[in-house]
Subunit: 209 residues, 2 copies
Amino acid sequence: MNIGIIGAGNMGHGLGKLWAQSGHQLMFSYSRDITKPKKIAQSIGSNARVGTPSEAVAFADVVLLSVPYGAVGDALKAAGSLKDKIVFSIVNALLPDMSGMAVGTSTSAAEEIAKLAPDADVVEALPVFAEVLNSDSRRFNDRQATVFYTGDNERSKQVVAGLLREIDVEPIDAGALKNSRYVEPAMMLLIQLAYTQKMGQVGFKLLNR
Amino acid sequence: MNIGIIGAGNMGHGLGKLWAQSGHQLMFSYSRDITKPKKIAQSIGSNARVGTPSEAVAFADVVLLSVPYGAVGDALKAAGSLKDKIVFSIVNALLPDMSGMAVGTSTSAAEEIAKLAPDADVVEALPVFAEVLNSDSRRFNDRQATVFYTGDNERSKQVVAGLLREIDVEPIDAGALKNSRYVEPAMMLLIQLAYTQKMGQVGFKLLNR
């Protein structure tokens, strides 16, 4: 396939390199530093070239959009018409300093509960599905599911982590209570996979290397 | 420990049963059906009893809050003061029909991009971290990371899934583009684990059974 890449950061470069190895043709475009797409294309070799965003779109069977969230408007303007194009977006709505998200999430059940019970020490963890919990084992083919916990008091978090260990899951400290705004949608993702996508009992395992 | 349980649904029941087996003492409270906490306590045996929410709080070293999101306000009112209590919340902000979230998420980068490029066919997938992508292997101890993709056109999604397979990750169909509002925070959770929690290179593996 011809893959037009808008955005010449680490992600666009890394994906492009692997796809070039699979035999796809690439065109890199769009960077604050105009020498960067050229350098990347040269490092990849004959399967890669550079162009303007609109040239990359014209060239492409698939347009990879790999710019920071704040650059999306400008990049799409430069791209021009995307009529009938597949746009493969790898853009997450991260704030530039990664301290939070620019759109999409602003609070969580955990934070609302902490507001309603300001004297309490709230720790949140969303365990495995009830069907898993109420079955003979919480394991998925012998593997423990990861359950993320959040809270603002270390000692209380350790108590909750202990209770999670007792139900045979792997507790992982996901930081401050406000990080529940990321954990809760992640659990909602599992619910969507289970019911809308009809995958049944699902869970996360955190990979680390 | 003494664990006071507010909410007598499948989750409170399932967790309580396992914790009773570990030797903890339980008090169940709060249900629309007042016979339900009693039935659950009886099924668990001598480690479990019933009480009002405020009795469960007085009894508890740890208060498990396991009610639907819509019942949180009422349940906390019934619980009374939670001063210096550890509240272990397993409440997610799900709408009653699980069609979405009541608070915390309302849009996503993917949906905003689709609004800015209405003619394009946007498919989103947030691959593994750039550090993983640009290393010798995308595997975590021989295991493929799961990458979720969303979109509204099946054929385009299959193209993106193929491109993901080529970079040696496991593509999982996470449904419609609007489900990016769950996938994007899930990826932000990984970023928090990597940087704030200093876990380094992390990824998700979807478990299914």
